[in-house]
């Protein structure tokens, strides 16, 4: 509750009326003591001065504001990141928090492999404050692309920047290109971004989208070798017995009709114990005699 003994409260409420347009003029301060008048003036001035400021805004860091500009070279002189450089574990930890579906692992050579389905990106640290892709960085990116054909993107991470500023490159960015007649590069590189944002942007732009697979239910159930063997045996016996064989062969096939289970049992025995445990020749001879 406001303190109604404080005359400044009534003045402030009247000032709110004025700002909201329900009172035509600013409240008078003549009735206030000098101290109260000063307080009221300060509070009213403060209310007017605050208008428009976004209380929820957070501005970018100096590193972010200067990254990629002509003044980016100022940053190495800044003491902020001079004595602390990130390591691959830091990069992996940041990447791991970007998207739960993607994997981030430290690979040999100190690169961090970031993968989602068949998208694979490699992030490599450079001991700089800004991810300026100079000849050294370009050569490094080329080596990474050449060393792994599945690598889709390479991220150059500035190890000494506060937010791990990252320049994401494609193979086309570092490969040989034809210069446009005006001498401009054929494509502009994407601007450097803090690592998490760069990874998120990469996923948004080039993460693969696979349709959900609907597997055949029969294939997802346990394999019934006996049933499959009996079905195949029945199909073969039926086809062979229908042929115009004569003599013992014709009689043998016809006699086997309805006895597919015998073959199925033989297939199961071979599948479970191997051919060495089953006398295939003896079993076939026995079945042939039985059929005859």
């Amino acid at each position: 509750m406001t303190n109604y003994d404080d005359p400044v409260d009534a003045v402030m409420l009247a000032f709110l009326d004025y700002l909201e347009g329900t009172m035509s003029g600013r409240p008078t301060l003549d009735h206030l003591t000098e101290d109260d008048r000063r307080r009221a003036e300060e509070l009213m001035a403060s209310l007017e001065a605050g208008r428009g400021i976004d209380p929820h805004a957070s501005r970018p860091s100096v590193e972010t504001l200067l990254a990629g500009t002509d003044l980016a070279g100022l940053l190495p002189l800044s003491p902020a990141g001079a004595d602390r450089a990130a390591d691959p574990a830091n990069v992996r930890d940041v990447l791991a928090g970007v998207d739960a579906r993607a994997r981030a692992d430290i690979a040999s050579g100190g690169t961090v492999v970031y993968g989602y389905l068949d998208l694979r990106a490699r992030f490599v640290l450079m001991n700089t404050d800004t991810p300026i892709a100079d000849d050294e960085a370009r050569a490094l990116a080329e080596r990474l692309f050449d060393g792994d054909a599945d690598t889709t993107r390479v991220g150059i991470v500035a190890a000494r920047s506060d937010e791990l500023l990252t320049q994401v490159l494609t193979a086309a960015d570092v490969g040989c290109t034809v210069t446009a007649p005006r001498g401009e590069p054929h494509a502009q590189w994407t601007p450097p971004l803090p690592l998490a944002m760069a990874a998120r942007q990469m996923l948004e732009q080039c993460a693969p989208e696979w349709e959900s697979a609907d597997f055949d239910r029969a294939l997802s159930e346990p394999l019934d070798v006996a049933a499959i063997a009996a079905e195949i045996a029945g199909r073969i016996i039926g086809r062979e017995s229908a042929r115009p064989y004569r003599g013992d062969k014709a009689r043998a096939y016809r006699a086997l009709i309805g006895h597919e289970a015998v073959f199925a049992a033989l297939v199961v025995a071979v599948a479970e114990h191997g051919t060495g445990a089953v006398d295939l020749e003896g079993e076939i001879t026995r079945m042939t005699r039985a059929a005859a």
Partner: protein
Amino acid sequence: MNEPARFASHPLMADRARLDTIIDNMSAQIQKIMYRGRADPGTERALYGGESADDILQEALLALLSYDPAGLQVTWEAVSVGIARNKALEALRRATRGRRAAGADPGTPDDVTMVPFDDAVAVLGEDADDRDDPERAFEHAQQQLVLLRLAREQLTEREQAVFFGIHYGGRTRAALAAEIGLTPQGVGQIYVRVAKTLHAAACKDPAFPTTANTPEGRTSDKLR
């Protein structure tokens, strides 16, 4: 643009705390011009054409760091205020060129998502002291940033909604009351109580500039 070697000894880059304070203040100056009176909740905070306050802040910082220290006649703080305001007004001018002016007839095409340029000029004209005295404007914005920090630290969620809505967003008590579930009178009482409490706390805060126009001189005088 000047050659990088010239900036190797830039005084602001050697004093990161001061530079951060100046950038915070420039950000506030830009927001005040871009958003004043139009900072409705949920409004996308970008100008027509996609330019954001952060884009303007970057332009302003580059201009500030390109300013020749040898030609400095006032404090860096005062220079930063002038640059930030000019960059914000330039951005508004670009965004509103050929578009609806304030007070235009209904039905007039209006693609401006932020403050029309005429309004922004009017804002700068409201406080002649701030308009003509960038050092004073710097101190006023600095006071607001201290108040904002204290509000984040000390206020409850409901108090923050009231204080942020009225003090920074320029919202009416009735609109806030409908959202929060209080009466407009209750919202006004909360605002006045919170504003007085925060102001009293801020006056004890060492970062709160209170020496403007006093015999002791200005805070910025110590920084020059």
